[in-house]
Symmetry: D3
Subunit: 133 residues, 6 copies
């Protein structure tokens, strides 16, 4: 059970409803997920976070599916249950197949493994990796 | 300074040299980075890890550049200095532009932020995200 | 379900009951939360941890509410479900309003974001931050 | 050495200089720290992050010093070197004494300890903590 | 509910059944736990991970019980619910008593605490710790 | 450079010197490492942490070497540079061979990998793991 009340559309202020409307319009859905309903307790934070998500996850140089898979990678690394569910769903909506999900998790798992080997042996960064030319 | 000796090619056993040779051949380079030189203190672990990296990072359903960017995302999330340097270099070698790197970091940063908002408010997972049909 | 039995007051040894009594007295409550009932399987560890909590969370130079909010910040960052629930409750008992909770989470989220941007870009620490005079 | 070039004021575009000017004005300083110089490689991200920092760390219901200490708590928990240096400096500028810093770290350390005890024993969340009335 | 289907023995391909058979034989059990049933959606990853577990957790210079306890320590530190349950069970099967579990958790908790004190104060590594002769 | 002054023995108060003396006596050394010199800025915290370390790392049901290796496992998982150096040195002093260190890191790396696979696939905990009888 969430630590704050989840604000439903019908009970929301016009300010909150406007953000909910924008979320549904941008995503082409007819519902808003709980994450936003929790944030809605503070309309200014709700608006701020949505503007950030819109800007960062919107059109850019990276493919939208790639961005969702990166989101899943970070969420699995941090062990965030909510975000793993929500962004895996989003990535599937954008075309992530089961084979791609399995391969993504393999990369995430391996990266978490070698991160600790490098940290544990305190491996010196190669000079070649520091050059930026 | 690493916590174990870094084994150079010239002093390595034939077993270790064979892995080094394979690393250089697969990557098309004429040098081996320090990570492997640290692992080489235990040839069985060296071989195991290299076989894993070859299998996971080799051809599959995901683009090789995407896999390197996922690796960078995980490494930055975990704060692994060595892996952030080495996989950013690898991603750049595979074509990651500065604009792509900036956008990748924006996604990684945002995911780390919303992971904590979801965890902090203990947001309930929406039923819609749990369906798998 | 916990991985160890939760020791209830009625079945506890006098040594454990003494710690439970002290917890209730210091906190002005008539019950002990599950965390302590789990630790009670090893009375020496129970006593050690309670002494630590009493010393660290007791009177000092920081406001008790601030200390509870810092505890929530760390727990949300680590994704500890139990601690997020228990310390959010404690912070609310000490006066944390809903507006304060929302603002606290905003800071926690942002810090987790910029932590990864700094780690991902490997930003050099400014010399000005290293001075201690 | 940072993985991206640090953009100095003199070589920055007017768009970046405008953000730098705002940072210095809001903070009452005559210099900009490296974090922003790294972000400046992507002016849109620079502007986005600065707007977030201004909003979240600006006036609200929490004391500015408390917010900086929460930032330090998160950064130490995540092991972010850059952020620990920069936000400890900021907290000291806002009045954090050495005694307060020591006490803050004691809370951070203890929270990290009990987070793992709760996670390791998988302690069930008390029903009393789930009520929100 | 898992994000992928759990593949039961009866519906598994011969390739997957062969891995399941090996898991049961090596462990002397007549069932396979859910972790492997999730991985089985990608038989190549299933086989790769099982070969890794067999090699790393098999006979070596460290006691098998010690290795399981290290696994529990890492899982509790990362807050991985599944792994904490499964490896605590494995450690108990190998002889971990309740007293040993409590002591293990005490070490894990303390290490997580001092990790943050060292990170928060940015303590310089003593030269004596860097020598390897 | 540490964020607090490192208090040397010669300049320390009698209260701090007493802790330093106890550290050296318990460890059979003639020097104190920087971690304690940082904590010494707050004598009460110094004493508290040392009493905790003495109790947790002292004689118990687990072998002292095992406890040091668990400490290294946690420190590598968290990426704590200071603690990885200091506790690897301590483990070597207690008899950890290079082969044991390599095997320990292999377990730590693998645990970090499977932790993320379990978290990423959100694998349901097997009922068999929840029984405690």
């Amino acid at each position: 059970m969430a630590l704050v009340r989840l604000i439903e559309y019908g009970e929301a202020s016009p300010e909150v409803q406007a953000v909910y409307d924008d979320i549904m319009q941008v995503r082409g859905t007819d519902w808003v997920n709980n994450f936003w309903k929790a944030l809605a307790n503070d309309p200014a934070q709700l608006k701020r976070m949505w503007e950030n998500v819109k800007q960062v996850m919107g059109p850019g140089t990276l493919d939208p599916l790639v961005k969702e898979m990166v989101y899943v990678a970070v969420s699995a690394t941090n062990g965030c249950e909510y975000c793993t569910y929500s962004h895996t769903a989003a990535a599937r909506n954008r075309g992530m197949s089961e084979a791609m999900f399995a391969e993504l998790m393999a990369v995430v798992g391996l990266a978490n493994e070698t991160n600790r080997l490098a940290n544990g042996f305190r491996v010196d960064v190669d000079e070649a990796f520091k050059r930026q030319d």
